[in-house]
């Protein structure tokens, strides 16, 4: 497993634990009301688990297992996937901040969701640019040229 996949999968696991903890709190609060403002965690729960966990895990595993580009095992331009990693997690952090600020101060900074959305989109485009040429049928892999 390449280092970048390890990083993405471990980060996804951290979001998984965080998202389920938030979800557990939400569910407990639904059954035994503790704090009305905990309901603000609902958006956080959704962003963290759908993007931070599910989407990031899929990207990390895909970067690891999709067919390589040449016989040397190239996975394409890794900078794109690093970009995806940073943009995607940046988006999740922004969405989390929005929920936490709303929960604490009742100040709904909805424009933070716009930033999160733009970051998600950029992350997706960067990842797709890397993965697209790797979605290929079985073939004899070309040897990389010596100049590379």
């Amino acid at each position: 497993m390449p280092r970048l996949s390890q990083l993405m999968i471990r980060t996804a696991l951290l979001w998984l634990a965080f998202g389920y903890t938030a979800g557990g709190l939400l569910l407990a609060n639904k059954g035994v009301p503790l704090l009305a403002s905990l309901w603000a965690l609902r958006d956080l729960h959704i962003h963290v688990l759908l993007v931070g966990w599910t989407a990031q895990l899929a990207c990390g595993v895909a970067f690891w297992i999709l067919p390589r580009l040449d016989a040397q095992g190239s996975r394409g331009d890794e900078r794109l996937v690093w970009g995806c990693f940073m943009l995607l997690n940046g988006g999740v952090v922004v969405a989390v901040l929005r929920s936490l600020i709303w929960m604490v101060s009742r100040n709904d900074l909805v424009w933070l969701n716009v930033i999160a959305g733009v970051l998600y989109l950029a992350a997706t485009l960067a990842f797709a640019r890397n993965a697209w040429p790797r979605i290929a049928p079985f073939r004899t892999l070309p040897r990389p040229s010596r100049e590379q």
């Binding site: 951290l14 557990g24 059954g31 035994v32 599910t54 040397q72 040897r143």
Partner: protein
């Protein structure tokens, strides 16, 4: 595929079917207005799909296919996987029963059942993370193999 992974994945498939049975019922009710109480099943549908199917499938496949923990113990401590399975499913089933009942007629017991369900599911995920974390790694010897194949291609 080893038995623990098979059980995770088969259970996930059962939840997939259950989720779409509930989902279909909710959709039919939205179109035909059979009974207003059926609307309370919407969060049950979401969580059958995302916890019972998606998360459980990912857990099963990850426990099966991620790099081995060690030569002697390729899957690490399997008890962690069983604990994840037991807590995740008991938590989810408790929710499936208690959440609609609590929405239709709130009662202290159903409220506490929801709280317990939340604790069970969150705990199961923490255990899963502990089980899979050490298996997120490169294969030992990858670098040596890479160097060897480089020499061959030159």
């Amino acid at each position: 595929m080893y038995p623990q992974a098979r059980i995770f994945i088969r259970t996930a498939l059962a939840y997939l079917v259950a989720a779409f049975l509930v989902g279909a019922l909710v959709l039919v009710n939205q179109g035909l207005a059979l009974d207003s109480r059926i609307g309370a099943l919407l969060p049950v549908f979401y969580h059958l799909l995302m916890v019972g199917w998606t998360t459980q499938l990912i857990c099963g496949v990850a426990l099966w296919m991620f790099p081995p923990f060690s030569r002697e113990q390729p899957r690490g401590d399997e008890r962690l996987g069983w604990a994840t399975y037991a807590l995740l499913n008991s938590g989810l089933l408790l929710r499936v029963v208690a959440e609609p009942l609590h929405a239709w007629q709130p009662a202290p017991w159903s409220g506490w059942a929801l709280a317990i369900s939340g604790v069970l599911q969150a705990t199961s995920i923490w255990i899963f993370v502990a089980a899979i974390w050490p298996r997120v790694k490169g294969r030992s010897g990858d670098k040596e193999r890479g160097r060897h194949s480089d020499k061959q291609t030159q």
